[in-house]
Each structure stands twice: as structure tokens, then as C-alpha cells.
């Protein structure tokens, strides 16, 4: 059974249609990636799932219940815009936030102590959040998200603004949570993170879900129609290639998506005539490439993808 079921939701703000007839399902125990450029409607969809916004039409169910205050407690949510009360003490604040999620004061205190211990942050219990470093308050933010022990976790652009240590820590937490058969939904506009972590994805563009399903299956569907090439020498030959799309190009590297089924041997020959080849590999396309070929080059602003 799907833990989160999004069925044909739409949401408009005035004349702007932020989300248009979006549907997807997230099965239990999976990491689900919501991808797309900035402004594609990811955050709006996430807010609807969290019952912060109400969809104009369509339904969302969490563990079988329509979204409500009750389903909010089943979710640990870390928004893109995140922060804490600066003047409140760490312990008090975490207990307050956990209580809002339905825990009793004693339960909350026990959970908070456990997590602070685990993050080696027990000494901060009586410190004001304003006195903590940025990295430290990011840790407190994680605890605030997970302390009430929900079985669904939603992270909106979780890696933006994180320092590398916390970024790595978050990845570990996410994997660990999944291994305990929790369900994780996170959104990002950075495709490479999805490739590393997600089981399933949903691609957003202009408020619509344009592609949706198991990441490996999607990639397989495209076949090994892409060449990763590493070389040294003149890269002008890349410009002479016909019917290809080149991503991630640099002075000695390129991802070449072959569009018309032409022989890849010919590309290799051409390359050998111009440059020293270090690596030539047939692979499945990258998510960026899948995204571009799904929505069409004309329909996206490439700068919004990184």
C-alpha cells in the first residue's frame, strides 16, 4: 500500500497555477525524489502533503487518511525555509516542537535527550539557539524534524545551505531511516543527489509531473544511449557531431547523448582522429539528460538545472 498517495491535485495562487493535476504514489520504505527546476511547484506540492496548504482540487492521503492535523503528526517535515526561535533554549525549544507534534512533555523530553546524546550535543540543552554556530543549529533542526519518531519524513531541498559534514550526516540519516522501513520524500533541483539516493522519482516542470516511477527502470527504458568520454587534445570534434546532445562538457570531458541511433563507433573514430582518448563508456543517460529529453529543450531554462 502506498504510504503517500497524491491524486490529481491542483493549486493556484491568483492567476498562477502552481500545481496542475499532479498524481504520484510513494510506497513504504522507499526514498522518493521530487525533482525539477526552481519554481516547478515542488514546494507547493510538499506543503499540500503536509497540510500547510489545501489543494484546490484532488486528494492526498497519508497512510490511508486524508490529510489533516492528524496526518501532520505522522510526518517529520524539514522545510526549505527553516529556522528556530533564536532566543529560546535548545532543550525547551525541541520539547515544544515535539509537543506540538503530539508528544507528552515526558515523552518529548526523553526523545530529545536521546537524540542530543546521539549527536553529541547534550551540552547544548540549556544554550540559546542564537549562541550556536550554523552547523550546530542545523543539527538541532534535524532533531526537531525527527524527534517525534514519525514513519514519514519529508525534506524540502535538504542540502541547500548545509555544510559538507552535515550534508553527509543527513545522507546517512536518510539511508538509516529508510533501512528501518520508514518512507522518505525529498525534493531537490540538484539531479546528482537523486542519482545517489533515490529509489523512485517524480519529475516536475511548470507545475506538472512529467515523469514518474522507479529510477532504475526509467534509466533502463532510455537504454545505454549515452557516451561518457574523457580525452586530451582539441575538443573541436565535439562541435562537428550531428544529432547528439552534449551535457556536462568541459575541456577534457563530455556526456554525449546520441539521439538518432547512429553508430557510436563512428563517434569514437572521430574522436580518436582529434584527441587522445582516456575513457570511452556507454552508459544510461544522466537524470539531467532524461529531464531535458522529457520536457524538451525549449521548455526549460537550463540555468535552473545544475
Amino acid at each position: 500500500m502506498a504510504v503517500i498517495e497524491v491524486d490529481n491535485i491542483s493549486k493556484s495562487f491568483g492567476d498562477t497555477r502552481a500545481v496542475k493535476n499532479v498524481s504520484f504514489e510513494i510506497p513504504k520504505g522507499r526514498i522518493f525524489g521530487l525533482l525539477g527546476p526552481n519554481g516547478a511547484g515542488k514546494t507547493t506540492a510538499i506543503r499540500i502533503i503536509n497540510h500547510i496548504l489545501i489543494a484546490d482540487s484532488g486528494t492526498v492521503t497519508i497512510n490511508g487518511y486524508p490529510v489533516s492535523s492528524k496526518t501532520q503528526r505522522m510526518i517529520g517535515y524539514m522545510p526549505e525555509e527553516r529556522g528556530l526561535y533564536k532566543k529560546m533554549k535548545v532543550g525547551e525549544q525541541l520539547i515544544y516542537l515535539a509537543q506540538l507534534k503530539g508528544l507528552s512533555h515526558e515523552e518529548a523530553q526523553k526523545k530529545i535527550r536521546y537524540w542530543l546524546d546521539r549527536f553529541e550535543a547534550s551540552a547544548w540543552f540549556d544554550k540559546k539557539v542564537g549562541e550556536l554556530s550554523k552547523g550546530m543549529s542545523q543539527k538541532i533542526q534535524f532533531i526537531a524534524t525527527i524527534a517525534h519518531n514519525p514513519d514519514i519524513y519529508i525534506f524540502d531541498e535538504p542540502f541547500s545551505g548545509l555544510d559538507p559534514i552535515n550534508s553527509e550526516m543527513l545522507k546517512e540519516i536518510v539511508i538509516e531511516l529508510r533501512d528501518k522501513s520508514n518512507t522518505i520524500l525529498f525534493s531537490t533541483h540538484r539531479m546528482e543527489q537523486v542519482e545517489q539516493m533515490c529509489d523512485d522519482i517524480c519529475l516536475f516542470n511548470n507545475g506538472k509531473a512529467v515523469l514518474n516511477g522507479n529510477l532504475r527502470e526509467i534509466k533502463q527504458r532510455y537504454g545505454k544511449n549515452t557516451i561518457n568520454i574523457e580525452f586530451e587534445g582539441d575538443d573541436a570534434f565535439l562541435d562537428e557531431l550531428q544529432e547528439v546532445r552534449i551535457n556536462n562538457r568541459s575541456t577534457n570531458y563530455a556526456e554525449i547523448r546520441v539521439l538518432d541511433g547512429q553508430s557510436m563507433q563512428n563517434i569514437l573514430k572521430k574522436a580518436m582522429n582529434h584527441a587522445q582518448i582516456y575513457k570511452f563508456e556507454r552508459v544510461e543517460p544522466s537524470l539531467t539528460e532524461i529531464f531535458i529529453s522529457t520536457v524538451g529543450e525549449d521548455n526549460i531554462n537550463p540555468k535552473e538545472l545544475s
Binding site: G14, S69, Q72, P79, E81, R82
Partner: protein, 434 residues
């Protein structure tokens, strides 16, 4: 709506603030500041009235000056030997502040004396001179008319008014109008200050959650309306705590210093310009009335009711303002129209002080946005018909429901919109959307 969530928010708002040093300091310092302010005002007026003006008197009758000298020897100087031209020179050289030439025509005829001055002295000096001259000339006229001593005594007698208020139960009580006027104005002023002060606190509290970026975390656990109610109630409880402390101090102070204030006021009144003296007399401010100041418990209860209702109406508006902006600096465009009715009420209140049953006061006390300030002053001073009190409360409750409804809509959209300043058009859209 879940009561549990509202109470959690309430508790946080209340506890984190009441423990803060800023709050404790403000609770103690604001009354001290007010006392200091009143002290300075009194100090200035006392110091100011001490400056003695010298008025030259050229007395051709030779009987008027001695009478004036008897009244205020420091004020009047006998310059009867000098000509009018040299008197003018003295005024121009600022040796004297002005002069009056008094002749037989002023006593025998109906001619009014002329006061020539360099323009200093102002209204209160002119009033003093008028009173003094009226008395000495009248006395001289009485003397010349050979009126019997009995009649002269009648003229000399000073009549004060003792006032007694008949209550509804038919019991006669000593009228404390003077004291109660002051209590009413203080209560009105406290509500005025509290609404602006706590309103600002609400706005800042909402903005703080937006700038701290915690609002979305909260919104994923609590409904905006629960958060809004919790916030209003939490800061309202804070306000009540502070008020209770202040009112208790005020009552204690009033009991202790009532007689003192009476003495002080009588002194003040003798310095007051004649017109306001008459006005005060009409109101019946009599120093003796300060001896037994009593504040009816019902007045305290009304104060609490009108304070709470007024607070709720304005707090809901101030919360909406906070959610509509991104920083405190942006609040100006919305604050101004909200502050207008508060200030209007404050101005009406001073009218109410003189005429609590006048049309302006009655109308003002029934306009919900002005009620809390104007009505409490009226209730303190006069017997307001119960239908007016009841109506004003109903109107306020209705207004609160309206402002809360609007505010909740603006708030629920506003708290999630970051990084852009809104305008009125946008707000309207939010109301439709919310």
C-alpha cells in the same frame, strides 16, 4: 481547532516573554517613567509660575494701588510719578513687563483699564490682572457707594460647591467626580498605551517567526488559526499580568497619595487661568474630595472587560499586519491607518473628561475601535446607561469576530510568503484566497 495546540502556543508565548529581562524591566520602568514624566511636567509648571512679572501701576486715584499691593506686593510696582512715555520706555527696556494707568474714570465710570505690555506674560498673566483689577475696583466702588458692611461681606464671601451624588439605590454618596475623572483618564490612557504597546509586540512576534524562518516548521504542526489564537491569548495573558501589577500599584499609590494629590491640585488650580478654573469648578473638582477616594469594584471589572475586548480587536489586526510584511520597517504603511482610530479615541477621551455625556463622547464610546478608551473614561466619571455599555460590548464582540475572520485569512497566507513586500491589493487577494 485543537485546544491543546492553542494552549501549547499560549504557554510558550507567555513563559518565554515573562521570563525575559526586557519584560521585567519594562514592567518596573514604565510606571517609574510615567511618574518621572508627571513629575517633570509638575516641576516645569511650578518652576514656570515662579517667574515673577513686574507690572508698573500709574495710579492717579491713589486708592487702588494700596489695594493691589496688599494682594500681591511682588507683582505690582508703584510708578505713579512717571509719565506714560517714561513707562513705555521702561517696558521697551524690559525693566518692567507692562504697565496699567488707573484713573478715576475706571472707578467712577465704566471705562476698562488698559494693560500695555511688551507681549510677555501670556494668557495666565492677563487673567490674573483681570481678576485682581476687578476685585480692587469693585471693592473701591463698594466703598464709595457707602454700602453697609453686611453687603460688603456678602461680596467678599467665597462660595464653594459641595456635591453629592445620588446613586440608583437611593443612597447619597459624596461625589468623587474629581478623583474619578483622573482615574478615568488614567484608565483610558493605560488602555491607549497598552493597545499600542501590546499591538506592537504582537506584530513583532509574528514577524520574528517569519524572519527566523521557523514559521513553516510550526505550520506543519499547528493550524494558522490555532497559532493566531495561542499568540493573542499568550500575549494577552502577559498583558493582564502586567496590568494587574500596575493597577494594584496604582490603587495602592492612589490610596496613599490621595490627600497629597488634593493639596497639590488646589495649589495648581489657583495658578490656572480663570476659564479653566471655572471649568474645573463646574466639574466639581474640590480638593477635599480627595480625602476618601473610592474606586468601585465594578469599574475595575469594566476596565478589565474593555481592555480585553479592545486588546483582542487591535491584536488581531496587528497580527495580520505582522504576517503581511517581511520586516518591521515595512509595517509603517499599515500601522498608520490602524493607529488613527486609537489616536482619535485618545483625543475624544479628553473631551469626555469635561463632558462625559456629550454627543461626541457618547458616539465615540459606541464606535468599537474607540470604545475601550472612551467608554472606560465615561464609566469612571458618570453613570453611563446600561444599554450603552451593553451595546458597546456587543459591537466590540462583533467587530472582533470580523477582524479575527479577516486577520486569520491574511495571516494564513501571509506567514508563508517570504521575501516580498505586500500592498493593499495583495492583501485583498489573500483575503479572497484564504
Amino acid at each position: 481547532m485543537s485546544l491543546r495546540q492553542i494552549l501549547l502556543v499560549l504557554k510558550r508565548e507567555y513563559v518565554t516573554r515573562i521570563r525575559s529581562k526586557a519584560f521585567i524591566l519594562a514592567t518596573v520602568l514604565i510606571p517609574l517613567g510615567m511618574i518621572a514624566f508627571v513629575g517633570i511636567v509638575i516641576g516645569i509648571s511650578v518652576w514656570d509660575s515662579d517667574t515673577q512679572q513686574t507690572i508698573g501701576i500709574a495710579d492717579q486715584t491713589e486708592v487702588l494701588y494700596p489695594r493691589l499691593e496688599e494682594m500681591a506686593p511682588d507683582r505690582y510696582q508703584n510708578l505713579s510719578e512717571l509719565t506714560e512715555d517714561s513707562l513705555r520706555t521702561l517696558v521697551q527696556q524690559e525693566e518692567i513687563d507692562g504697565f496699567i494707568v488707573l484713573g478715576e474714570s475706571h472707578v467712577e465710570g465704566q471705562e476698562d483699564p488698559e494693560f500695555v505690555s511688551s507681549g510677555s506674560g501670556g494668557l495666565s498673566l492677563q487673567n490674573t490682572l483681570r481678576t485682581d483689577l476687578r476685585e480692587v475696583i469693585r471693592n473701591e466702588r463698594l466703598k464709595r457707594a457707602n454700602v453697609s458692611e453686611d453687603v460688603q461681606e456678602i461680596y467678599a464671601s467665597d462660595i464653594a460647591l459641595t456635591t453629592t451624588k445620588l446613586t440608583e439605590t437611593g443612597k447619597e454618596t459624596e461625589d468623587d467626580t474629581g478623583f474619578l475623572t483622573i482615574v478615568g483618564v488614567i484608565m483610558g490612557a493605560i488602555i491607549f498605551g497598552a493597545i499600542s504597546g501590546y499591538g506592537g509586540l504582537i506584530t513583532r512576534s509574528v514577524i520574528e517567526e517569519k524572519t527566523n524562518r521557523i514559521i513553516e516548521v510550526i505550520a506543519s504542526s499547528v493550524k494558522p488559526i490555532e497559532l493566531l489564537f495561542g499568540k493573542l491569548a499568550g500575549i494577552g495573558a502577559l498583558a493582564l499580568t502586567q496590568m494587574t501589577f500596575w493597577v494594584a500599584s496604582l490603587l495602592g499609590l492612589a490610596a496613599a497619595t490621595g490627600p497629597l494629590a488634593g493639596m497639590f491640585l488646589s495649589e495648581q488650580m489657583s495658578n490656572m487661568p480663570e476659564t479653566s478654573q471655572t471649568a474645573s469648578a463646574q466639574q466639581g473638582i474640590n480638593p477635599e474630595m480627595f480625602s476618601i477616594p473610592t474606586i468601585e469594584p465594578s469599574l475595575i471589572i469594566y476596565f478589565a472587560i474593555f481592555f480585553i475586548l479592545g486588546y483582542l480587536i487591535y491584536a488581531s489586526i496587528f497580527a495580520a499586519i505582522g504576517s503581511a510584511v517581511d520586516s518591521e520597517a515595512d509595517t509603517q504603511q499599515y500601522m498608520f491607518p490602524v493607529m488613527v482610530p486609537i489616536f482619535v479615541a485618545y483625543i475624544i477621551m479628553f473631551q469626555t473628561m469635561n463632558n462625559p455625556d456629550g454627543t461626541l463622547s457618547v458616539v465615540g464610546s459606541l464606535i468599537p475601535l474607540c470604545t475601550p478608551i472612551v467608554m472606560i473614561t465615561r464609566i469612571a466619571i458618570t453613570d453611563v446607561p446600561f444599554w450603552q455599555i451593553g451595546l458597546s460590548m456587543l459591537l466590540m464582540i462583533g467587530t472582533f469576530i470580523g477582524t479575527m475572520w479577516l486577520s486569520a485569512k491574511i495571516y494564513s497566507v501571509g506567514i508563508l510568503s517570504y521575501g516580498k513586500s505586500t500592498n493593499w491589493k495583495e492583501l485583498l487577494k489573500w483575503v479572497k484566497q484564504g
